[in-house]
């Protein structure tokens, strides 16, 4: 990775954390809006805790240099789930409904920038 892609990647990581960390916090602290959301999904409360927990882990991994790629993969997965939720159950009534789409894109860019760090792919690239 060159210096500029490195910087770009960190910038994107911080963007994701900035959006994801509050989401995780609200879910894990029983924020009424989160509870409403997960009631709609029929996942109250287990699903809310699981997802909140995964989001928190993803944030953490995104900040640990050796684990960034895994953090990006995890956020990608969780956010794909969120997109599915909005499409099938929740709809796109509010501004923040679009956040998952943005996050998926950011995570995908990070994965692309750091593709050589995925072990199995790196082995094949040599």
């Amino acid at each position: 990775m060159t210096k500029s892609t490195h910087l770009l990647s960190w910038f994107l990581q911080l963007c994701i954390v900035a959006l994801l960390a509050p989401a995780a916090y609200f879910k894990l602290t029983d924020h009424p809006e989160s509870i409403e959301l997960f009631t709609d999904l029929d996942m109250e409360p287990t699903g809310r805790y699981v997802i909140g927990f995964l989001e928190a882990i993803a944030c953490l991994l995104l900040l640990i240099p050796q684990a960034i790629i895994h953090g990006a993969l995890l956020s990608l997965c969780v956010m794909m789930g969120a997109i599915i939720a909005h499409f099938t159950k929740l709809g796109f009534s509010e501004m923040f409904s679009f956040a998952p789409i943005l996050l998926v894109i950011l995570a995908a860019v990070i994965i692309f920038l750091r593709r050589s760090q995925i072990k199995s792919i790196a082995r094949m690239l040599d």
């Binding site: 029929d42 699903g47 199995s120 082995r123 094949m124 690239l125 040599d126």
Partner: protein, 513 residues
């Protein structure tokens, strides 16, 4: 292993199943429980990765052909050293080529550094020929670049010069699929080495790719035959009118099945094959065990002369040595008629092929190193070593083996399987089944699809460049300034080797003759 599981079918099923499951889980997520979407997401990712493997990346034939299931192979390979060390065979045990030899080629073909650490895994007791270095290595710039001219002995106008001591040994279109032929020919052209067309008749795809070709005339003379299997002069002349064809090779025998002909079953004779090989459709065609023109020494040499006179380009012969006395007799016959082939390609008994009876593959012919030594010794004893060139083939896939062959008397080396490995062969041993998973020895378009001609042709060139690099470094280390000065004194030959036996034997035979 062969045929027990059809990996191709399994992988096709998997490639269908993965996206289908994604859809199924999605439906489950919508109608049953949102928890299904954990699986939906996972399978969407798998689908994306699979599509990437199958349709976007071009480097890996196996992934391109089999998708994510093929990944299992890379995974198993990555834990392979441990598995073998603790459970199965070790790195030096597989045949014909062990893992150490294969991965060396893969690395050269990918152009990555092949330095290894800690120490050699090979034997140093009494079974392996080693190379002697000099106390006074020479500098690279003191070494004369390699050059070898075929046909110079006869003063041919169309003599053919090679500048790297390598050639791609005979493999026919038929044994190989179209993509493999194209990738090899294009790679050979990139690397600046000639490629032997094998006995598959008119080398249509080779000629389309261009580059330097050696046309092989097998015992059935596919492409240049009359219906009875004899040579059709006009067809041969028509063929060599193509500029790509630089030399002719008359194949007398090959190491994998010396003394054995073959049969081209009528089921295999498609319209294309019938045209390229000039054989009729609907009947089996026999490849005789010898050219019908060649029944003894005298007629064989006459036939060589006929081809030489007709074509006016260098003409060599390929054979696997059986009895050294017979070899000596034919050299004497050459002397008597004053006709010499422009090269003699010695194929060792260890040679490979698309399909041969087990008895012949395993049991017939003289091993290569002993055979080169004998051929060189006999030619030298008869005083005619300067009338022809010696080529050698038979597992000469890495720099050390090649150097040994050159030291024993070969002027250049040929390899078939070395280049197949560089193409991505994984030694599945299915060349005769049309199911080669690496898409090399198959005509199945779905399997050939994975073999990207452009990508793989650069691997061929990388492989040659890696070998050449080693070659010059080895010359320097042995203190040799010109390739022709490599000789047997540069070798350390333990007494347990087949070569050592043969040296003793030839000495005895020479004194009797």
């Amino acid at each position: 292993m062969a045929g027990s599981v059809d990996l191709h079918k399994v992988s096709k099923f998997a490639n269908m199943a993965i996206p289908s499951l994604a859809v199924l889980f999605f439906v489950g997520g919508v109608y049953v429980s949102f928890y299904f979407h954990f699986l939906t997401v996972a399978f969407i990712l798998l689908t994306v990765v699979n599509l990437f493997y199958l349709h976007i990346q071009r480097k890996h034939t196996i992934l391109r052909n089999f998708g994510i299931l093929g990944q299992a192979r890379y995974f198993i390979e990555s834990i392979g050293p441990e598995m073998r060390q603790y459970l199965f065979a070790n790195d030096t045990e597989e045949r014909p080529f062990n893992r150490i030899e294969r991965s060396e080629i893969y690395r050269k073909a990918k152009g990555v550094d092949s330095a290894s650490s800690f120490g050699s895994q090979l034997d140093f007791d009494n079974s392996e020929i080693k190379i002697r270095h000099s106390m006074y290595p020479v500098n690279m710039d003191q070494i004369t670049p390699f050059s070898l001219t075929f046909g110079e002995e006869r003063g041919l106008k169309k003599a053919f010069t090679i500048t790297k001591p390598y050639m791609i040994s005979a493999m026919s279109y038929g044994a190989l699929g179209e993509n493999a032929v194209r990738a090899l020919t294009r790679g050979a052209k990139l690397a600046g080495i000639p490629m032997n067309t094998g006995e598959g008749g008119t080398p249509k795809y080779h000629m389309e790719e261009g580059g330097d070709l050696i046309f092989q005339m097998g015992t059935a003379k596919f492409g240049v035959r009359n219906d009875d299997g004899s040579l059709n002069d006009q067809l041969l002349l028509d063929l060599i009118a193509n500029d790509s064809i630089k030399m002719i090779e008359i194949k007398l025998s090959q190491g994998a099945k010396p003394g054995k002909g073959g049969l081209l079953p009528k089921e295999k004779i498609t319209k294309e094959i019938s045209e390229l090989r000039s054989v009729p459709m609907g009947v089996d065609v026999v490849s005789p065990a010898h050219h019908i023109e060649c029944t003894d020494g005298e007629s064989t040499i006459k036939f060589i002369k006929r081809v030489q006179d007709l074509t006016q380009i260098p003409c060599g012969i390929k054979l696997c040595v059986g009895k050294t006395t017979e070899f000596r007799e034919i050299i004497r016959e050459m002397k008597a008629q004053d006709i010499f082939p422009d090269y003699i390609a010695i194929d060792g008994a260890e040679g490979g092929t698309g399909a041969a009876p087990k008895a012949f593959m395993d049991g017939y012919g003289m091993p290569l190193m002993a055979a080169i030594y004998s051929a060189n010794k006999i030619l030298t004893d008869e005083g005619v070593r300067n009338r022809t060139k010696i080529l050698a083939s038979g597992k000469l896939i890495n720099s050390n083996k090649q150097f040994i062959a050159l030291a024993l008397g070969a002027d250049a080396v040929c390899s078939a399987r070395g280049f197949m490995l560089a193409l991505g062969c994984i030694q599945s041993m299915l060349c005769g089944n049309n199911t080669c998973p690496a898409g090399i020895t198959t005509h199945d378009p779905e399997l050939q699809r994975g073999l990207d001609v452009e990508e793989k042709s650069t691997r061929i060139a990388n492989y040659v460049n890696g070998l050449e690099h080693d070659f010059y470094e080895m010359l320097a280390a042995s203190g040799i300034r010109e390739a022709k000065d490599i000789n047997i004194d540069h070798l350390y030959i333990p007494s347990d080797t087949a070569l050592s036996d043969q040296i003793q034997f030839i000495v005895k035979e020479t004194s009797e003759y």
